[in-house]
């Protein structure tokens, strides 16, 4: 087999530069400590690594449980074509979140402690146990999807396939718990979070919006793999995911807005502060723009329309999680926090690594090919024709 020649493209050079910066930052963080490598302080103890790598990262990987639930529990077979890529992304996402956490934890080598010395009154404990066990479930789901091509693994893979529905239901249960407990983390700081984002219902908001983010992220992944490798899921399927995302976001928006009304917080929306601006930007990205696009039939027939809506939803989701973890907390903190270049380099490196893994996954595991399920192909084709 001849090795394909490695070409230096613009994005590859950018990726390499980011990874080099990430490596330098990693060295500084582990040798000189968090104080040297980050702009964190006693007054602002959680920064970009928690807000982006962990809190946003777990949400972006929510496609795994959302799509498997749609396909296997609700038996909507035409979405089967996106199960493989979303399960891979989810699995990869959770592994990367667990890895990224090592950068942020002071005693990273004791990361397993919550599993053994757990304090069950802590939302963080629940989060740790759920993320660990869900990563295990995803590993099994992914194994049953991707390892079937190895002959000598047929038997265990066959067994996993026979209990696949159990894995799916377990996955949805555990995801419900930990997607919501990311919000629960902030329920205990009522006087520290900006009123626009603080709510005792944060766990419920976080769960619903994670489902929306999972759908949006599936669309984005499909776009990226089309750009990069020419593989993609059928457009009508993706368009429906965007519509689903819009319905979830609108439902969330109404519930959240009602919350603002009954707790007399509407004034904060028009006080012209930095926080109010961030709130409107967040809502524009993950509610208003996708909604406008989704209700224009013409736009939803084009790749550009569908992907713009999906991208906007995902960006809005990111804005929300960063707003809760950083903007809203900044409001009460005594110091201004701006991430250091090391923090940004490490976070960006994780994004680059996930792109690389996803690209190899698409290539190596044939993620957008459906070879083993004939009856579904016909359904898919009819869906394409209908669209």
């Amino acid at each position: 087999m001849s090795r394909p020649k490695f070409k230096f493209t613009f994005w590859r050079v950018v990726a390499a530069l980011i990874l080099i910066a990430g490596a330098v930052a990693t060295f500084q963080r582990f040798v000189y400590g968090l104080g040297y490598a980050t702009h964190l302080s006693d007054d602002f103890p959680w920064g970009l690594w928690i807000g982006f790598d962990v809190i946003s990262g777990v949400g972006l990987a929510a496609g795994g449980f959302t799509i498997t639930a749609i396909v296997y529990i609700f038996n909507l077979k035409k979405y089967h074509c996106i199960v493989k890529p979303t399960v891979l992304t989810a699995f990869m996402g959770y592994v990367l979140v667990g890895t990224a956490l090592l950068w942020d934890l002071g005693k990273y080598y004791d990361i397993w402690h919550p599993l053994v010395f757990g304090n069950h009154h802590s939302a963080m404990f629940e989060l740790g146990v759920c993320v660990a066990s869900y990563t295990g479930v995803l590993a099994l789901e992914f194994a049953s999807i991707a390892l079937g091509k190895f002959k000598w693994l047929r038997k265990p893979v066959g067994f996993l396939k026979s209990i696949y529905i159990v894995l799916v239901i377990l996955g949805v249960l555990i995801s419900t718990l930990h997607q919501s407990s990311l919000g629960t983390l902030y329920v205990i700081v009522p006087e520290k979070l900006h009123p626009l984002w603080y709510s005792r219902l944060l766990p419920i908001y976080f769960f619903f919006t994670a489902v929306g983010a999972g759908l949006g992220m599936t669309v984005v992944e499909s776009y990226l793999s089309w750009r990069g490798m020419g593989h993609e899921a059928p457009l009508p399927v993706l368009a429906n995911l965007v519509r689903g995302m819009v319905v979830i976001q609108l439902t969330f928006f109404v519930a959240m807005f009602e919350g603002l009304i009954v707790s007399h917080k509407l004034g904060y929306l028009v006080d012209g502060s930095f926080e109010s601006g961030m709130w409107w930007l967040e809502m524009a990205l993950w509610v208003f723009i996708p909604t406008i696009i989704a209700f224009r039939k013409k736009w939803m027939l084009t790749r550009l329309g569908v992907f713009t809506a999906g991208f906007s939803g995902v960006l809005g989701f990111l804005m929300n999680r960063l707003n809760v973890s950083m903007t809203a907390f900044q409001w009460s903190a005594k110091v201004k926090y701006v991430p250091s270049w090391q923090e940004m380099a490490v976070s960006a490196s994780f994004v680059v690594v996930s792109f690389i893994i996803f690209a190899y996954g698409v290539k190596y595991f044939g993620l957008f090919h459906e070879e083993d399920l004939e009856p579904i192909d016909s359904i898919e084709e009819s869906a394409v024709k209908a669209g």
Binding site: W46, P114, S122, V187, I188, R200
Partner: protein, 263 residues
């Protein structure tokens, strides 16, 4: 009975022997600082000309830091102090995020950092029945503003002081009810009440861990319900297919549909 400290701000002269005694007792590096950090468990904050406020861990009755810690590295002892176990700690800093008084501090400059906070001299003094280093120094060398004793006795003393000298004291004992009560109590002067001294006077009387617990205690309720629903939906949605595959029933359905159309 839980031990506690009462700080009568009207009696504090700002000499700072409390901070010095703390440094010595806890073997903290450097000189006494102006801000609480990893090397300063207790400091004095000057408010106006001659009012000094001690800052230290409040040792809550139901501590937020202990409830959020995923590994119980922080915990409340029966004697009153909230103490820390470095061997359990994973360095996640959730305690720092959650503490309503901003007490836990971090050794940011160290590769393997500890959480640092006042532990009410638990190992070296409370366990042996001795008063805390700061309160002893204050009584023997300082202005005598920090008292050590049983919580209920100190509370009674504080109430007595307010009742006997209503013109001297702000009519409030900070720490009696804040976030479920604390084991460090404050009395403030009438002309400079707690709000003016930058105490957080908006804290609820309910202990904050209750907020999280109200969410977490729903989990055992939600899981069986959600599991039943999901399994049921799976059964229902996959059953449709079985029914459709059954030719006989399909035929019957088709006939029925045709019949319906004719009508």
């Amino acid at each position: 009975m839980p031990k506690a400290m009462l700080v009568d701000i009207t009696e504090c002269v700002g000499c700072g022997v409390c901070s010095e005694a703390c440094k010595k007792e806890q073997k903290l590096p450097g000189d006494v600082g102006k801000k609480r950090d990893y090397a300063n468990y207790t400091v004095l904050r000057q408010e106006g000309d001659d009012v000094y406020v001690r800052e230290l861990c409040m040792h809550c009755t139901d501590p937020t830091c202990a409830s959020v810690c995923p590994v119980s590295a922080l915990h409340k002892t029966p004697e009153g102090p909230v103490v820390y176990d470095f061997d359990l700690c994973i360095g996640c800093r959730y305690c720092m995020m959650a503490c309503p008084f901003g007490v836990p501090k971090y050794e940011w400059q160290k590769p393997i950092p500890k959480i640092r906070k006042c532990i009410m001299c638990y190992d070296t003094r409370i366990k042996k029945g001795l008063p805390t280093a700061c309160s002893q120094a204050c009584q023997e060398e300082g202005g005598g503003a920090t008292y050590f004793g049983e919580r209920d006795e100190l509370l009674a003393e504080a109430h007595k002081r307010i009742k006997e000298n209503p013109d001297t004291y702000d009519n409030h004992i900070y720490g009696e009810h804040e976030v479920g009560g604390t084991n460090v109590l404050f009395l403030a002067p009438k002309d400079k009440p707690f709000k003016a001294l930058q105490f957080n006077t908006k804290l609820p009387e309910e202990a904050l861990p209750e907020l999280t617990w109200q969410v977490l205690n729903k989990i055992p309720v939600i899981v069986p319900v959600w599991a039943t629903f999901l399994t049921g939906m799976w059964w229902l949605n996959n059953r449709k297919e079985e029914v459709e595959e059954n030719e006989g029933s399909k035929k019957i359905r088709d006939e029925k549909l045709e019949g319906g159309d004719n009508e």
